[in-house]
Symmetry: C2
Subunit: 259 residues, 2 copies
């Protein structure tokens, strides 16, 4: 039987508070199975951009990554955040290794084709080198990925962290029983966005289509759920959406996605 | 017989020119033996510090690393420079992996004890985990180290890049025949700093002491040469100081250090 691998993605709600992040990383370190962490960091990037006199431009929640912004996200995601998370995990005796997609050529991507909007140096993933990730896991290392990829032609690219988690999960399904966990600021997918407790505990493909038709799924949630079902259709065993606490405590209300 | 491992350190002269860096990385990629790159990046860190309204304070060529400066060097060394070098090497079909000392717990250090000067978050190396570096090399990866370490208690530390190269070289001598090459802006150690061509081609311990007594070794060169002899006394096979071109062309004038 394949070994379980947990791939956990954290975003703004955890990253933006030092205390929340430290608590989360202590919890994450306690996970006994092989594990991978994927992190964002958009708010810090925007903060540093402003200090440098740049104006971060976002369309539909996605960053327009010109050359100057690419340098900022490379500094903030791959440097400041990734290495501080790694050092914090090391303190918790979790043997973390901070990585971008350029490292060990793990994630190759191409610059997003311009249709209506030119996102600049935004990368859409082409391939994941799961073999070398398995070498790291076999050596008891815990990979920590920031949201930077490369095109194998020397160009770094800013890539959505949800997508990176998703692509890693699909690729590593070849060797592991992968559980993909998206941590965010809600308890799960809500039936009514106004009611924090209206968590839909299980969503299958039929219900998902139904919810979409009724316009119940909020805008920001759509790409996230599309990612999730894409993962399930491509070998990922289990996908969970919920609060960061869910990684250790399965009794906390959350949303499980199933085919 | 042990396999040869080349550990190459580059500093300002290569890092500060995009063209020089690209040329160097193309050369570096052609090295056939296992290899490790160690890079600095002080000038870029100072540039970003200034843009952020900080004033980089240096004493005797060493940075006083307060909290704000630590964030800058972490961003610039581990993020901007390390990942761009890694992506560039990938383009040259060198399977690079960018690392700080916190990654895989490779280099632990302690905050420098305050004697006369408080260097802030400057780290002096305690230990190198050579086993995991060997795993990377065995898997055909080329480690690229920036000058950041950690104390295993969650604290990142700014560490001199020459020292990192030196400590890696000593530690990896257990498994490899290590050649340590320091690339800088001169052809080697000069007998007369005014004459670029007055390279001392071979320096042994006796000559080194002699040159020191005669005050021929310039100030900046002293810690570098102390590092070199420390390496030789601790198992490193060969130490070379010279221009970046020396990594591929042994006929270029350079300084070789021997016991």
């Amino acid at each position: 039987m394949k070994q379980t691998l947990k791939i956990i993605k954290i975003g703004g709600n955890v990253m933006n508070s030092k205390e929340a992040l430290m608590g989360f990383l202590a919890d994450f370190s306690k996970i006994k199975t092989p594990k991978i962490l994927v992190h964002g960091g958009g708010k810090k990037a925007t903060e540093i951009s402003e200090k440098l006199g740049l104006q971060s431009k976002m369309i539909g929640g996605r960053r327009i990554t010109n050359q100057a912004e690419l340098e900022v996200v490379t500094m903030v995601y791959a440097g400041l955040l990734n290495k501080n998370i790694t050092a914090q995990l090391q303190q918790n005796n979790c043997n973390a290794i901070g990585l971008s997609g350029a490292d060990a050529n793990i994630i190759t991507a191409h610059k997003r084709i311009v249709k209506n909007i030119d996102y600049g140096f935004a990368g859409d993933v082409d391939a994941v080198n799961n073999k070398i990730v398995k070498v790291f896991l076999d050596n008891k290392l815990t990979p920590v990925f920031c949201a930077i990829t490369h095109n194998k032609k020397g160009q770094l690219l800013n890539t959505n962290a949800d997508t990176i988690a998703n692509e890693l999960a699909k690729s590593l399904s070849a060797d592991y029983r992968v559980e993909l966990i998206y941590c965010f600021e809600k308890k799960g997918v809500l039936l009514n966005v106004q009611e924090e407790d209206s968590v839909i505990e299980k969503i299958d493909v039929d219900l998902y289509e139904n919810l979409q038709q009724k316009n119940i799924i909020a805008d920001g949630m759509l790409p996230k759920l599309n990612n999730c079902f894409d993962a399930l259709k491509n070998g990922v065993e289990k996908v969970i959406i919920g609060l960061p606490e869910v990684i250790l405590n399965n009794n906390i209300k959350h949303t499980t996605l199933v085919l």
